[in-house]
C-alpha cells in the first residue's frame, strides 16, 4: 500500500495543483460576485433600482392638468379629450419641473395634424381622416379648426 502511494506521488501532486486552482477560483468568486446578486432571482438586485431611477422625459397628463386648467377644460369638451397634451406638444418633464427653464414650442399645425388625420386605407374606418391636399389645398388646419377643441 505504502509503495502504491509512493509510486503515485506525482498524481497526488497533480491533484494538489488542481485543488489549489479550484480553491483560488472559489475564493476569487466569493470576493468578486456583486453584492445583492440572487436576492430576487439570478441577477443583481441593484439593477432594479438602477432601471427605476432614470428621470422621466414625458411629464404625464397629471402634471399638465395641474397648471393648464383652461386648455384642459377646452380639451375635455371636444373630440381630442383622450389625447394627452404631450402627444402633440412633445415631452415636457423639464418644463413641468421648472416652467421657466424649458418653454414648449408651438407645434407645426400642418405636419402635426396630418400625422394622424391624413387618409390611409390602413386606418380604422371610423377615424376622421382627409386627403389634406384635397381638403384644404395647403391651408393651415388651425385656420378653421381649433386644435384643443376640434368640431366633430
Amino acid at each position: 500500500m505504502r509503495n502504491h502511494v509512493r509510486e503515485a506521488e506525482h498524481l497526488i501532486r497533480l491533484a494538489l495543483v488542481f485543488l489549489a486552482g479550484g480553491a483560488a477560483f472559489l475564493l476569487i468568486r466569493q470576493a468578486v460576485v456583486p453584492p445583492g446578486f440572487g436576492v430576487h432571482g439570478h441577477y443583481r438586485a441593484a439593477a432594479l433600482e438602477e432601471n427605476r431611477l432614470r428621470p422621466a422625459v414625458y411629464a404625464g397628463q397629471a402634471a399638465c392638468s395641474d397648471c393648464h386648467e383652461e386648455q384642459v377644460k377646452q380639451r375635455a369638451a371636444g373630440s381630442h379629450r383622450g389625447v394627452a397634451c404631450e402627444a402633440c406638444h412633445g415631452p415636457l418633464a423639464r418644463h413641468a419641473a421648472d416652467p421657466s427653464a424649458a418653454a414648449p414650442r408651438p407645434p407645426d399645425p400642418v405636419a402635426l395634424c396630418r400625422r394622424c388625420h391624413e387618409a390611409d386605407a390602413a386606418k380604422p374606418k371610423n377615424f376622421p381622416q382627409v386627403v389634406a391636399q384635397d381638403h384644404s389645398g395647403g391651408e393651415a388646419c388651425n385656420s378653421c379648426h381649433q386644435p384643443h377643441r376640434p368640431k366633430v
Binding site: H4, R6, E7, H10, L11, V17, R29, G38, H42
Partner: protein, 386 residues
C-alpha cells in the same frame, strides 16, 4: 438599408453573430474530432493509428486553447466575460459551456497529455538547460519518478481519463450544437438533430485535420508516412462521413417533407443567398466529392502515391466543406427574418475586429501553437533519437 429584401423586423436588419462565431464551432469541432481519433487507439485498441495518437492529442489541445478567443473578441464587453464563471445562469446553454470547456481542457486533455508524456518530460527536464529546462522541470511537478510501477499507474489512469474523455468530447461538441439547436425562435437552428449533426461533422473535420497534419508534418520532416495508419484513418473518415451525410440528409428530407411555416422562407434562402456556400461548397464539394474520393480508395486497388494524393484532396475538401457547414448554420440562421417575410445579407469586413483578417489569424494561431507544442513535446521521440 441595403441588402434587405422583403420585410424584416426593424431590429433584425443587423446581423448579430459574425464570422468569428462561425470559427467557434469549427474549432471546437476539430478538437472533439481529433480527440476521438486519439481515443481510437487508446480505448478501442486500433493499433494502426498509433503513430497519430500524440499528434491528435496535441492538435486537440492547440485548437482548444484558441476556441474561446473568437467568442471573446466578439463580445461587446470582453472584460466582463469572467461573469460567466462567477454567476453562471444554469438555464443558459452558453453559460454551462464555459464549464464543459474547462472540464474538457483541464481534466481530459491536459491530464491525458501529461500522463502520456510524463516519462519524456522527466527525461527532458534532466537533459535540457535554460528556459526550456525550466519549463520541463515545472511540468514534472517536482516528481521524477518514472519507475515501471508508476508508469503502469499512469497508463491505467490515462486509460480511465480517455474513457471519460470520449463522452466529454461528445459533450463538448454536442453542447455547441445544443447552443444553436435549442433556440426555438430560430427555425433554421431549432432541431434536436443539431447536436448530433454537429458531433459527427466534428469527428469528420477532426479526423481530416489530423490526417492532413500527419501527412504534412511527415513530408516536412522527411519522415516516411506509415501507410497502414493513413489507410486506417481514411477508412474511419469514410465511415463517419457516411453517418454524418446521412444525418444531414435526414434533417433536409425531414424539413422538406414537413414543410412547416418556415419552410418556404428557408427553401428560398438555400436557393438564393446560401446556394453557393450550402449546395455547392458544403454538399457537393465538401461532402459528396470527398465521400466519392474516399470510396474510390476503399473499392479500387490504387498505388500508395495515388492513395496519398486522394486522401490529401479528400481531407482538404472535407475541411472546406465543414467550414461551409458551420458558416451556413451560423450565418444562414440570421439571414432570414423571424417573420419569414424577408432576408438580410452579411458582408464579411476585412480589417475590423470581427473581419476577415481576424478570422484568418485565429485559424492560423492554433497551427502556430501546435508547432510550439510539437517542439516542446515531440510526438515521435523514439525516431528522433534513432
Amino acid at each position: 438599408m441595403t441588402g434587405v429584401e422583403g420585410f424584416m423586423y426593424p431590429n433584425e436588419v443587423e446581423l448579430q453573430w459574425s464570422a468569428l462565431i462561425v470559427l467557434y464551432p469549427y474549432i471546437t469541432g476539430l478538437v472533439a474530432g481529433a480527440f476521438i481519433l486519439a481515443s481510437l487507439e487508446r480505448v478501442f485498441k486500433v493499433a494502426a493509428v498509433r503513430p497519430t495518437y500524440r499528434l491528435a492529442l496535441l492538435t486537440a489541445l492547440a485548437f482548444l486553447l484558441v476556441a474561446p478567443l473568437p467568442l471573446q473578441l466578439h463580445l461587446g464587453h470582453p472584460e466582463r466575460s469572467f461573469e460567466m464563471y462567477l454567476t453562471p445562469h444554469r438555464s443558459s446553454a452558453m453559460a454551462m459551456f464555459g464549464f464543459v470547456y474547462l472540464w474538457y481542457l483541464m481534466v481530459v486533455l491536459v491530464i491525458e497529455i501529461w500522463l502520456d508524456y510524463r516519462a519524456d518530460i522527466v527525461r527532458l527536464s534532466q537533459t535540457r538547460r535554460g528556459l526550456t529546462g525550466w519549463i520541463y522541470r515545472l511540468l514534472t511537478l517536482g516528481s521524477r519518478n518514472v519507475s515501471p510501477e508508476s508508469r503502469r499507474i499512469d497508463d491505467r489512469v490515462g486509460w480511465a481519463i480517455t474513457v471519460i474523455g470520449i463522452p466529454s468530447a461528445f459533450l463538448l461538441h454536442g453542447y455547441v450544437g445544443f447552443i444553436f439547436g435549442s433556440v426555438k425562435a430560430n427555425a433554421w437552428w431549432s432541431t434536436p438533430l443539431m447536436p448530433i449533426v454537429f458531433l459527427f461533422s466534428a469527428m469528420v473535420s477532426g479526423i481530416a485535420a489530423v490526417l492532413l497534419l500527419y501527412m504534412g508534418i511527415s513530408w516536412r520532416q522527411k519522415r516516411k508516412v506509415d501507410m497502414l495508419c493513413l489507410d486506417t484513418i481514411a477508412r474511419y473518415l469514410f465511415y463517419v462521413f457516411l453517418i454524418d451525410f446521412s444525418l444531414e440528409m435526414l434533417d433536409l428530407v425531414h424539413r422538406i417533407y414537413e414543410a412547416d411555416e418556415s419552410f418556404r422562407s428557408l427553401d428560398f434562402m438555400v436557393r438564393t443567398r446560401l446556394y453557393t456556400s450550402q449546395v455547392i461548397v458544403q454538399i457537393y464539394l465538401g461532402t459528396v466529392l470527398p465521400i466519392l474520393l474516399l470510396a474510390a480508395t476503399q473499392v479500387l486497388r490504387l498505388s500508395e502515391r495515388l492513395r496519398r494524393g486522394l486522401y490529401a484532396a479528400a481531407g482538404l475538401l472535407t475541411l472546406a466543406g465543414i467550414f461551409a457547414m458551420r458558416w451556413n448554420v451560423v450565418i444562414g440562421g440570421q439571414l432570414f427574418s423571424k417573420s419569414y417575410l424577408g432576408y438580410t445579407s452579411y458582408k464579411l469586413e476585412f480589417a475590423t475586429r470581427e473581419g476577415l483578417l481576424t478570422t484568418v489569424f485565429l485559424m492560423v494561431l492554433p497551427l502556430a501553437i501546435l508547432w510550439g507544442l510539437l517542439k516542446l513535446l515531440p510526438p515521435w521521440p523514439e525516431r528522433e533519437a534513432a
